[in-house]
Symmetry: C2
C-alpha cells in the first residue's frame, strides 16, 4: 500500500456533475487509510504550478458539505484550460510539477475533466513513469459533450441532457400557443459530437410534442435539404421547432456558424463557435419570410444544476469514489469509465481504462442512433439516453433559489 | 344570480403560471351553481370569433387534470395577440362577437392576459354595457413582466423571477471557474419595465455571489458609465457578470438594442427587441479587449415551469377562482388584483379593480427600488420580490422530464 498525500483538480468546462465527482473522490479519500493530506488544486494544474492548494480535510466539514457540493454546478475548485507540453519535448514544466509533488508529499493525483484533461492525466502519468516517481494518476471523466471514448457515457452528460430535454418540451409548449407560421431554432452545444442535440428529441418518447428535426454534426448540413424539411413540417403545423448543434458543418467540412464566429481558437486549437442557430434562422427567414427565432441554450445547459439528473449525480460520485479505490489498489495512468451492463433495468459498472487509448480521441454519435434521413435520431438513441436523465435530486432552497457550496 | 354559460380565454405571451390561472377559473366555475357550459376559446378572441371553442367540462376530467394543467407552461388553450378595434369606431367585430355570445348562451367572459389583454376586457365589457347585453366580463392578470397597474404583482412574474434568479446564480458559478478576465452579459426580458432584470440580483440576498450590476430600462443607459462600472468590477475579480434588460435605452429614448433588431412592430405597436445583450457585449469587447459572452435567457424565462414558484402557481389559481366569485357576485369590467397586506409574514388578499384604470397603462420599477447609482437595485426591491419566488411545486416526471397537460 502506497502511503502519501493526495491532490485533486478540476479542469475544462463546467458541468452540473463535476462537483459530484469531486465529492466522490473526497469521500473515497476520507475513507482510505493510507492517505495523509488531501489537497485541492485551485484552477487545475495552472493553480497547482503556482502552489495554490487548499486543505480539503479542513475545507470540507462533513457529509452535509459533500451533499451540498454535489448539488453545486460548475467547478468548486476552479478550472483551467492549460495544455501541458509533450513529455519528450520540454520538461521544465514537469520538473516544476514534480518538485511540487515532492514538496507536498503527493503520491495520488486525481484529475476530473474531459478529453483535454485526460491528455493532462496521460502526460503526468507518463512523466512519473519516465522519472521513476511512484505515483497513482487517475482521470475521472466529466463532460456534458459525452464524447469521451472507452466509456458508455460521461458524468455531466445526463444532467445537461435532462435540462435540454426539459427545456425543449417547454419551448415546444411555448411555441405552440400562436397560429402564425413560425420557425424556432434551438441551438445546442456540442462542437463535434451530437449527443446533446440528440437529447433535445427526448420529449418524443412520452410527451405529445417533439422538435420537428434535429441536426447533428455527424451528418453534413445542407440548406436545400433544410428548406425541404421546413416546408414538410409546415404541412403538419404552423409552429416548427428544430434542434441544431452548434457544430453542424457543410459537406466541405466548414462550420455553418463560421460566418458568425470570431475565428478565435483556444489553446487546444478548437475554434469557438456561436451563432450557428442565428445563421440557420436567418436562412429560414430569407427563404420562407415567416416569423423566426433562435433560442441558444448557452451555458445554462452545462450549469443548470437545479434540474440535474439524480442518476448522473449519483454516478458522478460513484466514479469519483471508485477512482480512489483503483488508485489505492495500485492502478495508475487510467481513466475511470462506465460499462453498461443492461439497458432495462438500467445497470452500469465502473471500470478503468488505459489513459493512452482515451486521451485526445473523440466518441461521436454512432450511425445506428441517427435516422437514415439524417435529420433526426432513432428511438434506439433515445432509449440509450433516457436512463441517464432519470431522477431529481432533493435540493435545499434558500430564499427561493438552490443553496450552493463554495470554498470561499 | 345570473344563469348562463361561461367562456375562458388566454391571451398574450406564455408564462409558467397562465395555466394555473386557467385551472383556478375552471375550478371556480365547476363549483358555481349558476354556470351551464364552460367553453374554452382556442387562441383567445381570435379563435372565439371563429367559434373554435372546446367544452371544458368534457376536456377536464377532474382534479388530477387541473393539477397537471397548473404545472404546464405556456397557454394550454392557445393564445393570440389580436387587438380589438375601438368600441365607438367599428362595431362589426363586436356584433359578430356578441352574436356568438348569444348563440352559445355566454354570460360570463374570463380573459387571462397582460396589459394588452386587459384592453380586450375593457372593450368587451364596454360594448356589453353599450348594447345592454347582461354579461360579466372579468380580466385575470398574467404577465412575466409584472408591469400591470393596480396590483402588487402579477401571476407569472414569480415563476420567471425564480428561473432568472436560479439561472443567474448558476451562471455566476459557471463564470467563476476561470482566472482569465471575462465579462458575461445576461440579457433579460422586459421591454419597458425592469422587474425581471431586478430579479437577477436576488442571489445577493443569500448566496455569496451576485451580478456586478443590473441595468434597468427605468434608467438611461450610457456606454461611458458602463465602462466605468466594468473597470471598477475588474478591480474586484476577473469574472464580471452583468444583468441587462432587453429594453434599456439611451438618454434620448432610443433602444440600445435598436442596431440589432429588425424594426418589426407587433399589432400593439411594440417593437420587437433582441440583441441588446450582444450590442452591450460588443461594446465591452471593443473597449476592454477581454473575453466576453452574452447569455440570452430568451423564452426559457417565461416557460421554464420546471422551476416555477409554488407561491406564484398557488396565487395564480387563487386569483382565477376569485375571478369567478366576483363575477357571480355581480361584478363586471373588472380586473382581479393582489393587495399586499404584509411583507413579513408575506400575506396578500385578492381584490378587483375597475378595468378602465388598468388597460394600456404600465407599472415601472419605482425609484426606491433602484440604487442611486442607477446600476443596481436596492435590498428593498429584493425583499419585495423574494416572497414571490418561494416554494417549489411537486412535479410529476415521466422519462426524466416533467409531465404536461395538453388539450389535444
Amino acid at each position: 500500500m502506497l502511503f502519501g498525500n493526495a491532490v485533486i483538480g478540476q479542469s475544462g468546462g463546467p458541468t452540473a456533475a463535476i462537483n459530484a465527482s469531486l465529492a466522490g473522490v473526497i469521500r473515497g479519500l476520507f475513507e482510505a487509510g493510507c492517505i495523509g493530506k488531501i489537497y485541492g488544486m485551485r484552477n487545475g494544474v495552472e493553480g497547482l504550478l503556482q502552489k495554490r492548494l487548499i486543505d480539503l480535510r479542513e475545507a470540507i466539514k462533513g457529509e452535509e458539505d459533500l451533499l451540498l457540493l454535489s448539488h453545486t454546478p460548475a467547478a468548486a475548485l476552479g478550472s483551467c484550460r492549460k495544455k501541458l507540453p509533450e513529455v519528450e519535448s520540454n520538461d521544465v514544466v514537469y520538473k516544476k510539477l514534480f518538485s511540487i509533488f515532492e514538496e507536498y508529499g503527493i503520491r495520488y493525483f486525481f484529475y476530473i475533466g474531459g478529453n483535454d484533461s485526460m491528455d493532462t492525466v496521460a502526460k503526468v502519468s507518463a512523466y512519473a513513469e519516465k522519472v521513476g516517481y511512484e505515483m497513482r494518476v487517475i482521470g475521472v471523466p466529466k463532460t456534458i459533450d459525452n464524447d469521451v471514448v472507452g466509456t458508455d457515457h460521461t458524468p455531466g452528460y445526463g444532467s445537461s441532457a435532462k435540462f435540454i430535454a426539459t427545456s425543449m418540451q417547454e419551448i415546444l409548449r411555448d411555441c405552440a400557443v400562436y397560429t402564425v407560421p413560425a420557425v424556432t431554432v434551438v441551438e445546442i452545444m456540442g462542437r463535434d459530437a451530437g449527443w446533446l442535440t440528440a437529447a433535445s428529441a427526448l420529449p418524443r418518447l412520452y410527451a405529445n410534442v417533439a422538435p420537428d428535426y434535429v441536426y447533428l454534426p455527424e451528418r453534413p448540413f445542407d440548406f436545400e435539404r433544410l428548406y425541404e424539411d421546413i416546408a414538410e413540417a409546415f404541412k403538419r403545423h404552423p409552429n416548427v421547432v428544430i434542434g441544431v448543434s452548434e457544430g453542424i458543418r457543410f459537406a466541405d467540412g466548414s462550420y455553418v456558424g463560421k460566418a458568425a464566429h470570431s475565428g478565435v481558437r483556444d489553446v487546444f486549437g478548437h475554434s469557438y463557435l456561436s451563432g450557428t442557430g442565428r445563421v440557420v434562422e436567418r436562412a429560414i427567414k430569407d427563404k420562407f419570410g415567416c416569423k423566426t427565432r433562435t433560442v441558444e441554450l448557452s451555458i445554462l445547459q452545462r450549469c443548470a444544476s437545479h434540474i440535474a439528473s439524480e442518476t448522473d449525480l449519483k454516478e458522478a460520485q460513484m466514479v469519483g469514489r471508485s477512482a480512489v479505490e483503483h488508485a489505492i489498489a495500485g492502478e495508475t495512468g487510467k481513466m475511470m469509465a462506465f460499462e453498461r451492463v443492461s439497458d432495462s433495468p438500467y445497470e452500469v459498472k465502473v471500470i478503468s481504462n488505459d489513459i493512452k487509448i482515451i486521451a485526445n480521441r473523440m466518441r461521436k454519435v454512432p450511425d445506428e442512433f441517427i435516422a437514415i434521413s439524417g435529420n433526426n435520431v432513432t428511438d434506439e438513441c433515445l432509449r440509450y439516453i433516457e436512463p441517464l436523465i432519470l431522477g431529481e435530486p432533493k435540493l435545499e432552497f434558500v430564499g427561493g433559489i438552490p443553496r450552493h457550496f463554495s470554498f470561499i
